[in-house]
């Protein structure tokens, strides 16, 4: 019951924050629909290239709508002592975080579905051949990136720095998944980028292969849970 309450609260606040909506919804959805559409009609790459780019932009949605949004939201609530107030209720720490992670992951998943359908009509990108596998890996990716975003707040000293601190994550996720176009990278860097949670989700959507991506995501999830337990701060640092 309390978990449902924190989930509903997280969802309500996601859509209430108009400033964040521009960053968390308008920008990534614009990129995830606009880039493949441009690719389809402006270049000679055709549907194949548009589809490849559409898959890559899932990394952008995960990095922004899941990771950045939850990091900014939780850092803000930590620094304004809203998290502390929530802890004054009967909610457990787990219910507070899990409700927020589930709410953010749901919105991310909704954005991924909207973009997948939109590029079907705007750029002719085929819908996923195996919808169940697509759903499984994108849901897992949304949850893991939301979890990692929550854990990442420990590294963010103040709320006003939250967006800036998540920007490198967005850039690396986008480059690693190919959403920023072909960028020459040193050979040694490729395996590292391929192990990013955003990249494995894009690879799974692209290839349909699930086992390795799911194992990698499980590893990231375990790291995220451990980091939350060790370092998550419920209150701002005392000066």
């Amino acid at each position: 019951m309390s978990l449902t309450a924190t989930y509903r609260l997280g969802t309500r606040l996601f859509w209430r924050d108009k400033a964040m909506l521009f960053a968390s919804v308008v920008t990534p959805v614009g990129l995830a629909v606009g880039l493949p559409t441009l690719m389809r009609y402006v270049t000679s790459g055709g549907v194949a290239n548009a589809a490849a780019l559409a898959h890559s932009t899932i990394a952008i949605l995960l990095a922004i709508t899941a990771f950045m949004n939850i990091a900014v939201a939780l850092t803000g609530r930590r620094d304004t002592l809203v998290l502390k107030r929530l802890r004054a209720t009967r909610l457990t720490d787990g219910q507070i975080l899990l409700g927020q992670i589930a709410a953010t992951a749901t919105q991310t998943m909704a954005m991924i579905v909207v973009c997948t359908v939109a590029v079907r009509f705007s750029a002719g990108v085929p819908l996923p051949a195996d919808p169940l596998a697509f759903a499984a890996v994108t849901i897992a990716g949304s949850v893991v990136l939301s979890l990692l975003g929550a854990a990442y707040t420990a590294a963010i000293p103040r709320a006003e720095l939250a967006a800036a601190y998540t920007m490198p994550v967005f850039l690396v996720a986008g480059v690693a998944a190919g959403a920023m176009g072909p960028i020459p990278l040193p050979a040694w860097l490729r395996p590292v980028l391929d192990a990013l949670p955003t990249t494995v989700v894009v690879d799974a959507v692209r290839t349909g292969e699930l086992l390795t991506p799911v194992l990698v995501l499980a590893g990231w999830a375990a790291a995220g849970v451990l980091a939350l337990r060790l370092w998550f701060r419920w209150e701002p640092r005392r000066s």
């Binding site: 449902t4 606040l13 209430r16 304004t80 002592l81 809203v82 107030r85 209720t89 009967r90 909610l91």
Partner: protein, 293 residues
């Protein structure tokens, strides 16, 4: 029965010892005031009692439970009004209460909580538009939602206007009359004196005075103050006096008797003790004396 027990509590933050071995007890259904200047250690004590922080040493029990180790169990029976805690500014007052009801088992109805805090007329206002005092009232509404057995109120009426403060006092008294144990901190000594049955004064992390409010103040006697004519030597008075801010003050166990003695002495000499005031000791006298040491 004892609702809150604090025994030899120590708590430090980053090397600074905020609480240095304090002990006190609060009986069930009692209003207990924890007093002290800023930095005395009151909020740290409340935060340990409410389970936000673990005691470094000593024991703390709320309703017989360790509030840190058994936080979930303690939370089911306590309400907390923190000195500083944020709200979701975009939610209305009613929506905030409704949301918090979702976090509470068997909560009070929303209208009842709003009425208790005097916020019915502000139900549809967004939290960011509330004044500081109204936010404190919303804080109180949230703390009372779960019908707690023990209530921690950290500076409950700060920022409230006099009318709202009087209304909050009535609510607090009514809650205590229902058997709820209340531990409050306040900067308003008149508030503590009006509400609390017992108190402890903290200074630099230590309890420097504690006990039942009435007994402690009665034991301190009272004071008689007046303006002595300029030509009269204070040393010639029949009782020992001090001069404080232009007033001659006589501290006495029985201030009425002292006043009679002084007036008789003055009448015999044809003197007038202008502005004579007799009053029992107040919490402010005790506080100023103890926290100034």
């Amino acid at each position: 029965m004892t609702a809150i027990e604090v025994n030899g509590l120590h708590k430090s933050h980053q090397g600074f010892e905020a609480v240095k071995g304090i002990s006190f007890e609060v009986a069930e259904g009692e209003i207990f005031a924890l007093l002290g200047r800023n930095g005395a250690g009151k909020t740290t004590t409340i935060e340990v009692l409410a389970g936000f922080q673990r005691a470094d040493a000593g024991t703390v029990r709320v309703l017989g439970l360790d509030p840190y180790a058994d936080r979930a169990a303690v939370r089911r029976r306590t309400g907390v009004m923190l000195q500083e805690a944020g709200f979701f500014p975009e939610l209305t007052v009613a929506r905030t209460v409704e949301t918090w009801r979702g976090f509470t088992a068997a909560p009070r109805p929303r209208e009842e909580a709003l009425e208790l805090a005097g916020l019915t007329a502000r139900a549809d206002v967004k939290v960011r538009q509330l004044s500081g005092g109204e936010k404190r009232r919303l804080d109180l509404a949230l703390a009372l939602l779960g019908r707690p057995d023990v209530l921690f109120l950290d500076e409950p009426t700060t920022g409230m206007d006099p009318e709202a403060r009087a209304a909050a006092w009535t609510v607090i008294r009514d809650l205590a009359a229902q058997g709820i144990t209340i531990l409050l901190t306040t900067h308003y000594l008149d508030e503590a004196q009006r509400l609390a049955g017992s108190m402890a004064i903290m200074d630099e992390g230590r309890v420097v005075a504690s006990g039942g409010m009435a007994e402690t103040l009665a034991a301190r006697g009272g004071r008689v103050s007046f303006r002595l004519p300029a030509h009269v030597d204070p040393g010639s008075l029949p009782l020992p006096v001090t001069v404080e801010r232009g007033l001659t003050v006589c501290h006495a166990d029985d201030p009425d008797l002292a006043a009679q003695t002084l007036l008789t002495w003055a009448a015999e000499r044809g003197l007038r003790l202008a502005g004579l005031e007799v009053r029992p000791a107040t919490l402010e006298d005790l506080f100023m004396e103890r926290s100034a040491r």
